[in-house]
């Protein structure tokens, strides 16, 4: 019982971790809390669905096209809307992303209606592996876990060792100084949004394959991803992934031992409690602002 709860908690946590990673990438560079994240990913999943079922393309082709679309969408949104804001403050940026979220949601549910669709996926949720004892894990969960860990390591390496990654970090620390050092800040931002959108799209494919595809698909995962990112501290990649896993496990344990009914709520209770103790999350340094 305990082992199974923890295992499936980690598996669910992996999707939260992916969403949290997507959030953190954007927050790391531009300090924008992106509420459109989930719906950007949802739209990409719909594009993949369209390629698969309407045009009958293969899995590899469809997913590549959808990821390319995700990258273009992210870059476009940054270029067309975020960059146009005059002297934006935190609230203004949050409102812009909320507005984008509503636009994307409206477009998707206008185009595809609100009926639920089956999202085909090469890996099944029903083939399971024994992990010793009576603990099982499905193929799909393993893939999700693998994708989350791989992306985390990839991003970590990217931010630490590549020139573009370092430029992104520099942009976050001080935009003006970064610009003076010859970094094209606008281009870096576009790139960041594109990357984040791709990571989010990966999460959406994996979530859509366990669930059915409809315009509300990513709302809950996005909130959980937010919570995971906040738990981890918003700026730390490792923190975001660990936050996702912690959240998944805590949620599952609570559902298993205390009450299934309030399972959806426990994440937020955990967040509020942890933020009371550590206002910047578990894995981030708390900077005290100067006046």
């Amino acid at each position: 019982m305990l082992g199974q709860l923890i295992t499936s908690g980690i598996a669910i946590g992996a999707t939260y971790a992916l969403m949290a990673l997507a959030m953190v990438i954007i927050y790391k560079t531009s300090e924008v809390l992106n509420f459109a994240q989930g719906d950007m990913a949802m739209l990409s999943a719909f594009v993949a669905y369209m390629c698969l079922s309407t045009y009958g393309l293969g899995f590899a082709m469809s997913f590549t096209l959808a990821l390319a679309f995700a990258f273009a969408l992210g870059a476009f949104l940054e270029f067309a809307f975020l960059r146009r804001a005059k002297e934006p403050n935190v609230l203004g940026l949050i409102i812009i992303t909320l507005g984008l979220e509503m636009m994307l949601y409206g477009l998707a549910s206008w185009r595809w209606g609100s009926d639920q669709k089956d999202f085909p996926f090469p890996v099944s949720d029903f083939d399971v592996y024994q992990l010793g004892g009576d603990v099982v894990i499905s193929q799909l969960n393993l893939v999700t876990l693998g994708v989350a860990c791989a992306l985390m390591i990839l991003l970590f390496v990217f931010f630490r060792y590549t020139k573009v990654g370092v430029a992104m970090k520099a942009t976050q620390q001080n935009q003006q100084a970064a610009r003076l050092m010859g970094i094209r800040v606008g281009r870096i931002m576009m790139l960041t949004w594109g990357m984040s959108s791709v990571v989010g799209a990966c999460a959406a494919f994996l979530i859509a394959s366990t669930d059915t595809l409809d315009p509300n698909l990513m709302w809950t995962p996005q909130l959980k991803g937010f919570s995971a990112a906040v738990l981890g501290g918003m700026t730390s990649l490792v923190g975001a992934v660990l936050g996702g896993f912690i959240l998944g496990v805590v949620e599952n344990l609570f559902g298993g031992y205390v009450s299934v009914e309030f399972k959806a709520v426990v994440a937020f209770a955990v967040i509020v409690l942890i933020l009371c103790v550590k206002p910047s999350g578990l894995f981030a340094k708390h900077y005290v602002r100067k006046v």
Partner: protein, 349 residues
């Protein structure tokens, strides 16, 4: 022209003669409105008045005190459920239950204000968002509140008179709306209101000049929750039926949209934002029937999109409005108003 010469001029509620005149005209128009309008129009204005109350409360928190909240649907729900529960279970009359529900909501606002003392920016947004979701989840599970089935509003009775028509509800809601607007205007002119603004501009600097942060931040949350709770209590009677789904996250976002579109930190802005967004909400829900735009969109739906999804166009429009307002006029409708006024005053220069 606008120079203030002493303190009493600064704290005066109405600045000039024309303002008094136009206020009197507005009040007279509001009083005469139910005599000339039909039932649906009165219903619309009832909704607008409730949203004005909520937008004022939220603006006090977001615009005046600078604390973001994505969870005001939670307070809205608390107000609505508390009013109905007090009337149905404790058999209190409406006139007692409504303020009591407001104070219950304010107590929750105080509680939410406590963690908010240490949080800012994205962290506060998440915490308040979580609060709003949690409240509706919990309300949906409690049998006292009807669970997922929701609650039916009891007949509204005031001073022995039964209120059944839209006009009757208008007579209850509009005076409350006017009084609360007046109260908020008063509040922003006092020490408390100025303390809120000081906290918004720089909380550390405010603390240095003797503003007690703990007190004023939690107070802002409590007052804001009180306004929203009262709005929720009235909403229960306008809708006649409430369930947890009435208070989803979209409602919180719409409240925030009203405040931002109208103009942060401005009472007139809150009113304009609430009027515009509520009206658009009602109109866009049946966008296919609108003249000019309707047939075009219907045709477009048949060609590219789906006809069943057509009402979702309203989200696209709202999203676009929110984004464009922030990009082009961060002060919202209030900013437009100010600029138009200055344009005419200084014309032809």
């Amino acid at each position: 022209m606008d120079m203030k010469r002493d303190y009493y001029e600064d704290i005066r509620l109405l600045d000039s003669g024309p303002q008094v005149f136009w206020l009197a005209v507005l009040l007279a128009a509001l009083a005469a409105f139910p005599l000339v309008a039909d039932s649906y129009q009165i219903y619309t204005v009832n909704l607008i008045a409730i949203h004005v109350i909520v937008a004022l409360g939220l603006n006090l928190l977001v615009g005046y005190t600078g604390q973001i909240s994505l969870g005001h649907a939670g307070f809205f729900a608390i107000g609505a459920y508390a009013t109905l529960a007090l009337m149905l279970n404790a058999h209190l009359p409406f006139i007692v239950a409504l303020p009591l529900a407001g104070f219950i909501s304010a107590a929750f606002g105080f509680l939410l204000g406590l963690p908010a003392l240490r949080l800012e920016g994205p962290y506060l947004a998440i915490a308040t968002l979580g609060f709003g979701l949690t409240i509706t989840q919990i309300l949906g599970r409690l049998d006292v509140f009807g669970g997922h089935m929701g609650l039916q509003a009891p007949p509204l009775e005031l001073f022995g008179l039964k209120v059944t028509s839209d006009a009757g509800r208008y007579a209850v809601i509009m005076p409350i709306c006017v009084i609360m607007t007046w109260g908020l205007r008063n509040l922003t002119k006092t020490r408390v209101g100025r303390a809120f603004v000081a906290v918004r501009d720089s909380d550390i600097a405010a603390e240095c000049i003797g503003v007690n942060l703990t007190y004023y931040k939690t107070l802002a949350f409590a007052v804001s929750a009180f306004f929203t709770g009262i709005g929720g209590g009235l909403m229960a009677f306008v809708l006649g039926f409430i369930s947890p789904h009435t208070f989803n996250v979209m409602v919180s976002i719409m409240f925030l949209a009203m405040v931002v579109v109208g103009g942060l930190g401005s009472i007139l802005g809150s009113v304009m934002g609430a009027v515009l967004i509520t009206w658009l909400q009602l109109e866009l829900a049946r966008i296919g029937e609108l003249p000019l735009v309707g047939p075009v969109l219907t045709e477009l739906s048949n060609q590219v999109f789906t006809l069943s999804g057509l009402p979702n166009v309203q989200y696209v429009v709202f999203g676009l409005i929110m984004v464009l307002i922030i990009i082009f006029e961060p002060l919202g409708l209030y900013g437009f108003w100010i600029r138009t006024k200055i344009y005419w005053r200084t014309w032809p220069f």
